[in-house]
């Protein structure tokens, strides 16, 4: 296992700047997630690390050594793709053994057998070893793909949205398994996703990318509790954060088109701000504000309430089933210590 460092990586495709001066340091044994929307440069970053793409500027280091001039095969990384990466003309066993049979390694067959059965055991695919890959379900295929990475015992795992083609139930269970596996194996893992819940649940640290730039790097708690910009704030959390424009008004902030007054933050704020409130921090039942229930979405485990006040509608999440009815006037409060303030350019204050 290794640590990885990216120094000022830039990459263009034709006219499009895919990565702009990206620097990251990933620690040994860390589960590091690159999160961002489509086209943010996450996959390009991963491919540069694997050597599948050559950066225009900057350097990649594994354990302090530059690997810029190494071919993909010589970098000793394992890549798990979103799809397509199982060889359809081979059995599951041969797929798992394929990297070990490469001319670079020439692992003896009995050692291959040991490592393949080992990995199959861990991923619970022992029963599938003799099957042709075309006969597998989506979840099984992705397990085999991960297995193919594990047998290699590589320095670094690179995973490019490996769960995004699976249905929701499978995604949930594989998420947990993958995290457990990574923690018990202690493998350095870079994981690319556009799904915020995958990033929050699996990562030790997250790097949020947008448009080829790194916006924020931090633990899931950092990203969720202290988003650096409104972009990050909106990217993580479901239902989405309430973002409310507000102006200075008599020693507090008045939220536009509403009767809501929100206290000033500790630091000296500009006259116009955007205030962010997570739905779980809009707490109905008690408090100084009132609004009417515009919509109720019962999800079973929790209920989403749309609370209308003035021209603004705030989303609120309450646990379990709510006893409110459509049109009810309810008092509510905003958790003061959990308010987020952003300036007009979207930067956190």
């Amino acid at each position: 296992m290794s640590d990885v460092r990216l120094d000022n990586i830039s990459k263009r495709f034709g006219d499009k700047l895919a990565l702009s001066d990206v620097s990251l340091a990933i620690k040994d044994k860390e589960f590091f997630v690159l999160l961002g929307p489509t086209g943010a440069g996450k996959t390009t970053t991963l491919r540069v690390i694997a050597g599948l793409e050559k950066q225009d500027a900057g350097s990649v280091y594994f354990d302090g050594q530059a690997v810029n001039d190494l071919q993909p095969a010589d970098r000793d990384t394992a890549f798990v793709f979103q799809q397509y990466s199982l060889y359809p003309n081979m059995s599951v066993y041969d797929n798992l053994a394929f990297p070990l049979r490469s001319p670079l390694r020439r692992v003896p067959e009995d050692e291959i057998r040991r490592r393949v059965t080992d990995a199959a055991e861990k991923l619970r695919i022992t029963k599938l070893l003799d099957r042709k890959t075309a006969r597998l379900s989506g979840g099984e295929m992705q397990r085999v793909s991960i297995g193919r990475a594990i047998v290699r015992e590589p320095r670094i795992f690179l995973m490019d949205e490996p769960l995004s083609n699976l249905d929701a139930k499978l995604r949930e269970s594989l998420r947990v398994e993958l995290k457990h596996l990574q923690k018990t194996q202690g493998s350095t893992t870079l994981f690319v996703t556009h799904d915020q819940i995958e990033a929050l649940t699996m990562a030790d640290r997250i790097a949020v990318l947008d448009d080829g730039h790194i916006i924020q790097v931090g633990t899931p708690h950092d990203i969720y509790d202290r988003p650096a910009t409104t972009f990050v704030a909106q990217l993580v959390g479901t239902p989405r954060i309430n973002l409310l424009p507000a102006q200075r008004h008599n020693g507090s902030f008045r939220i536009t088109n509403s009767p809501l007054d929100v206290p000033l933050p500790a630091s000296e704020p500009p006259p116009e701000v955007v205030i962010g409130v997570r739905p779980e921090d809009v707490r109905p039942g008690d408090g100084a504000y009132t609004g009417s229930i515009a919509l109720i979405e019962p999800l079973g485990v929790e209920t989403i309430l749309h609370i209308r006040t003035g021209e603004q509608t705030l989303l609120s999440v309450v646990p379990g089933t709510s006893s409110f009815r459509l049109g009810d006037q309810v008092p509510f409060m905003l958790a003061r210590e959990r308010l987020h303030y952003f300036d007009s350019s979207g930067k956190r204050i």
Partner: protein
């Protein structure tokens, strides 16, 4: 459809499109398909029948449908014969050392004096079509792979240039090529025709194969690259097995072209390297047209292509090797 409850079973959208009374529709479709097949096959069947007719049956008007099968046409296809005078005829009739083929020809008043060129020409066809097909598919698969996977400067222009080779009717350049071949000593050589057919087929083969290779996700090879294989090894172990559908299709198309090509074969060969197509019409007999012999030649000519296509038919059905791909 009895998969575990959570396993996605993707039949709903497919079957939804089947409307009311699917059985009647299936039956109607089957009948139409059968009728079309019959219409398409009639000339071929007629040719096959004619090949086994005797000369009088073959030219009789109205045509005979039920006849005594005879190998006469095949014998005349493979031999050279001389017309006998009446005296000779009686003399030959009395001989007892005649083979069945001799006797067959004797009934038409002819004697076999040697082998015809047809066998040699068929062998020429096999050599020339076979080798040029291997060459064109072999080069094309490499070129197509490169066009599909690498950043090549001026890629689109190059592809257009390759395609533009097919824009001029080939026959237009027969005379220049004839002159060049004369000058270069390629006239009437196997190599000459192989070279020509390979270059004709290449442009088409590159385009066809590029389409197939484009559809093989590059993640497959990239996975192999990361796993410790070289580009060439990844190509051989991963891309080629998955491109069999495309390679089979391209092979059949190239083979059919080289096999059937007539004009250049006629112009550029005379003796040694002559292929079958230009010679079949030349078996016209003395005085009359030997329809049965022409049919026999055409039948013999048809068989190799049918065999190759039959062998490759499994690969020609698309999608067989794409089982592991789940889109979206």
């Amino acid at each position: 459809m009895t998969a575990a409850p959570l396993a996605p079973v993707n039949y709903s959208t497919a079957v939804d499109k089947v409307g009311a009374g699917p059985r009647i529709r299936t039956a109607v479709r089957a009948i139409i398909a059968i009728i079309l097949t019959i219409i398409i096959l009639i000339p071929v069947v007629w040719m096959g029948m004619t090949a086994f007719k005797s000369h009088p049956d073959a030219v009789s008007v109205p045509p005979v449908v039920f006849f005594q099968p005879s190998l006469e046409s095949f014998v005349s296809l493979l031999t050279q014969r001389r017309q006998l005078t009446n005296d000779e005829r009686a003399e030959f009739a009395a001989r007892t050392d005649l083979t069945w083929a001799d006797q067959l020809m004797l009934q038409r008043g002819q004697v076999i004096i040697g082998e015809s060129n047809f066998r040699a020409q068929l062998i020429n066809s096999i050599i020339i079509a076979g080798i040029s097909t291997v060459f064109s598919v072999g080069f094309a698969v490499l070129a197509a792979y490169a066009f599909s996977r690498f950043h090549i400067p001026g890629k689109d222009d190059l592809l257009f240039f390759i395609l533009s080779q097919r824009m001029l009717p080939a026959v237009v350049v027969t005379i220049p090529i004839f002159l060049m071949y004369k000058e270069l000593g390629l006239h009437d050589t196997h190599f000459g025709l192989i070279l020509l057919y390979t270059s004709f087929n290449l442009s088409f083969a590159v385009w066809l194969l590029k389409g197939f290779i484009d559809e093989i996700p590059r993640e497959y090879e990239e996975a192999a690259l990361v796993d410790g294989y070289t580009r060439l090894q990844a190509f051989r172990k991963i891309v080629l097995p998955q491109a069999t559908t495309g390679i089979a299709a391209t092979t059949v198309f190239s083979l059919i072209f080289s096999w059937n090509e007539y004009a250049f074969a006629l112009m550029l060969t005379s003796e040694r390297a002559r292929t079958a197509p230009p010679s079949i019409p030349l078996v016209l007999g003395v005085g009359t047209i030997e329809w049965a012999t022409i049919a026999a030649g055409s039948l013999a000519f048809l068989i190799p292509v049918v065999i190759v296509t039959f062998v490759l038919r499994k690969h020609l059905l698309r999608g067989v090797t794409f089982g592991a791909i789940r889109k979206g």
